[in-house]
């Protein structure tokens, strides 16, 4: 484990990421003054685009690792995962900050973002989503606060959080279960709009299962990256455990997806060569089938390099799923009217800026806070 000052702050990669962040920030300010039309390619037929698909839906799914590892360690007492629990929670916190900022930027009237807190409309899934973002981001802040308290020598405050950590984590597990599934529930209203490859009555459940798969892979991915670049010594036992979790979730997701394919458009429809069918196959092969085949082999589950490769497959697959639900699954219906959507370069830059923010935020935290344990168990 490198000590605090061994992590070099200004590497060329970091400088590049900071540059993207600054560039993204300029575009965000421009968007505030000029409106969505000046920055995005959104239109009346494509009201939601890249920012919703990747930054919000993808970002929240990526953050699922936080509630899973926190739940495993604090509720199920799986001590094995204690060394990565702080990293997983911190990553989830950055993921949610990212998603919350992205949604604020994406809505037409960002200064009204607080309205759902006081203007209740319990029949709206969007209201449910909004309340969960607020509550869970606060919960994640509470869960990661001991790291900051320790840094500033506030041992009493850190001790207090540690005392209430079990109910806080349980609350976080509850909010995440509801939030991950409610993002899928948003699309329940899009009957006859969203392609039947993705539309079914259980789209909330599928969102939850795929978020679990994504969350486990993401934690593993970040742990390996931290080993590579931040001097954290990754424990292969932890990574194999996460890989086994990914495999089990992957099998459940596979069965569920095949069932809804069979019940919906029918299994042969996946091979009819249309854009939707091909996107569905790509998502299924990259994100579900290949990971299951690879992870079912013991030697793959016990090798850091191969686990890293599978992690990338799963993360890409679930991101692709969110893009399919939000953009490709509604594309043909809308494009028939002569409209089309491809993000502007500015939408891409802002998306990359958010990712850069999450990476740099995590790096700074690892440098200055005790994210990973020194050698002996903490708390």
């Amino acid at each position: 484990m490198k000590s605090e000052n061994e992590i070099k702050m200004w590497t060329p990669t970091t400088a590049f990421l900071v540059l993207i962040m600054i560039f993204g920030l300029v575009i965000m300010v421009y968007r505030l003054f000029k409106g969505l039309g000046a920055v995005t390619n959104l239109s009346d037929r494509f009201p939601w685009g890249l920012w919703i698909g990747v930054d919000v839906l993808g970002g929240v799914a990526m953050a699922a690792g936080g509630f899973l590892i926190a739940g495993a360690v604090y509720i199920l007492n799986m001590k094995k995962y204690r060394p990565i629990v702080r990293a997983a929670i911190l990553n989830a916190f950055f993921g949610y900050l990212l998603a919350a900022t992205a949604i604020t930027l994406d809505i037409g009237l960002p200064w009204n973002i607080w309205h759902p807190i006081v203007m209740w409309q319990i029949h709206s899934v969007m209201w449910v989503v909004a309340i969960h973002v607020v509550l869970y981001t606060s919960t994640l802040a509470t869960e990661s606060s001991p790291m900051f308290f320790e840094k500033f020598g506030m041992e009493k405050a850190a001790g207090f959080i540690h005392k209430i950590i079990v109910p806080v984590v349980l609350f976080g597990v509850l909010l995440s279960t509801l939030h991950q599934s409610s993002l899928g529930a948003v699309y329940l209203i899009a009957a006859r709009k969203l392609s039947p490859f993705w539309y079914n009555s259980q789209v909330p459940t599928l969102f939850l299962i795929s978020a679990v798969m994504m969350g486990l892979s993401m934690v593993s991915f970040e742990t390996i990256l931290s080993e590579k670049y931040l001097g954290h010594k990754a424990d292969i036992g932890i990574l194999s455990g996460l890989a086994r979790g990914t495999l089990i979730t992957g099998v459940i997701l596979f069965i569920a997806k095949i069932w809804f394919l069979f019940r919906g458009p029918g299994i042969p429809a996946a091979f009819n060569g249309t854009m939707e069918a091909n996107m569905y196959l790509l998502e299924m092969i990259v994100g579900v089938v290949l990971p299951i085949i690879l992870l079912s082999m013991k030697n793959v589950r016990e090798n850091m390099k191969s686990i890293f490769f599978v992690d990338i497959l799963v993360i890409s697959g679930v991101l692709l799923n969110r893009l399919n639900v939000s953009i490709f699954g509604v594309y043909r219906d809308q494009a028939a009217t002569g409209f089309s959507y491809f993000p502007t370069w500015m939408e891409f830059v802002v998306t990359f800026a958010f990712i850069a923010f999450a990476i740099i935020g995590f790096k700074v935290s690892v440098k200055y806070l005790r994210v990973f344990p020194k050698t002996e168990a903490q708390h």
């Binding site: 409106g35 959104l42 809505i107 037409g108 009204n112 349980l170 009217t337």
Partner: protein, 261 residues
């Protein structure tokens, strides 16, 4: 004098001559400007509703045994009885009023555009080019209706294409016209069942599916689709908390037993 029953409109497509007076009246009353359009081989103009245009007439030319037949379809918000847009709005900016119109309150809106995804008829439009954008759609001239006046488009229509009355009255009138004029109308009232019923309904002399109407819209009210999820939330809360507490207690006891050993 204004009565308090919820209002509805019957659009009798056999009466429309495509003069577009309604489009102009709507623009005047709602103070809408225009968006530039280009020739594209069809008389429908603008080709789609937009934030400056709440209603338009679709021009459809069909071939009836070598004779060209024109149909004109007035297109605007149908003001559903149980609107998807209002049910998904997180802040109740869109609302179904007692009087019938589905109205929009900019003061509440956050601009999430979920209404645009939810509406099965693609009605709500957005002011993409503005820094302070509104959601825009037909208002059913709610202020006029509240003051006992008929909506602007109906007021100017020279052929009485639209029959304005109370919700039940327009349905009865639609049934009456179909039954008293055998062969004149197809036997379907569009909006009677679609999306759980709409305040604006249509009758037509040619099949609706050939006029650009979406026939795949289910009869189920759209808000039911998302309510199926939301109503389960209290149960999920109970199950997750109970399961979490029980597993915590069990695993904690195991841990303590480990220690004792």
């Amino acid at each position: 004098m204004a009565d308090t029953k919820p209002k509805g409109v019957l659009v009798d497509l056999t009466r429309c001559i495509g003069c577009r007076g309604c489009q102009i009246a709507c623009k005047e009353w709602n103070e809408r400007s225009v968006k530039k359009t280009v020739m594209y081989g069809n008389f429908t103009n603008p080709p789609e509703l937009n934030s400056e245009c709440y209603t338009n007439i679709r021009y459809i030319e069909q071939d009836n045994g070598g004779v060209p037949v024109w149909s004109f379809v007035k297109n605007q918000c149908l003001h559903c009885k149980n609107p998807a847009c209002a049910s998904v709005c997180p802040v109740e900016a869109l609302k179904k009023t007692e009087a019938g119109p589905v109205t929009y309150n900019f003061e509440r809106c956050i601009g999430c555009r979920y209404c645009m995804l939810a509406c099965p008829f693609y009605i709500p439009k957005y002011e993409w080019e503005k820094a302070v954008p509104w959601v825009r759609k037909c208002t059913f001239c709610s202020e006029r209706v509240a003051n006992g006046l008929v909506p602007a488009c109906i007021k100017v229509c020279p052929t009485q294409t639209m029959y304005y009355s109370d919700f039940d009255g327009v349905r009865a009138e639609a049934e009456r016209r179909i039954s008293e004029n055998p062969g004149k109308y197809v036997s379907h009232i569009y909006g009677k069942e679609e999306a759980g019923g709409t305040s604006w309904i249509y009758i037509s002399g040619v099949p609706f599916e050939t006029l650009g109407f979406n026939m795949a819209i289910p009869a189920q009210p759209y808000p039911d689709l998302t309510w199926a999820y939301i109503k389960k939330i209290p149960a999920v809360i109970g199950v997750v908390i109970a399961a979490g507490a029980v597993s915590w207690a069990i695993t904690r006891r195991n841990k303590n037993m480990d220690k004792e050993e």
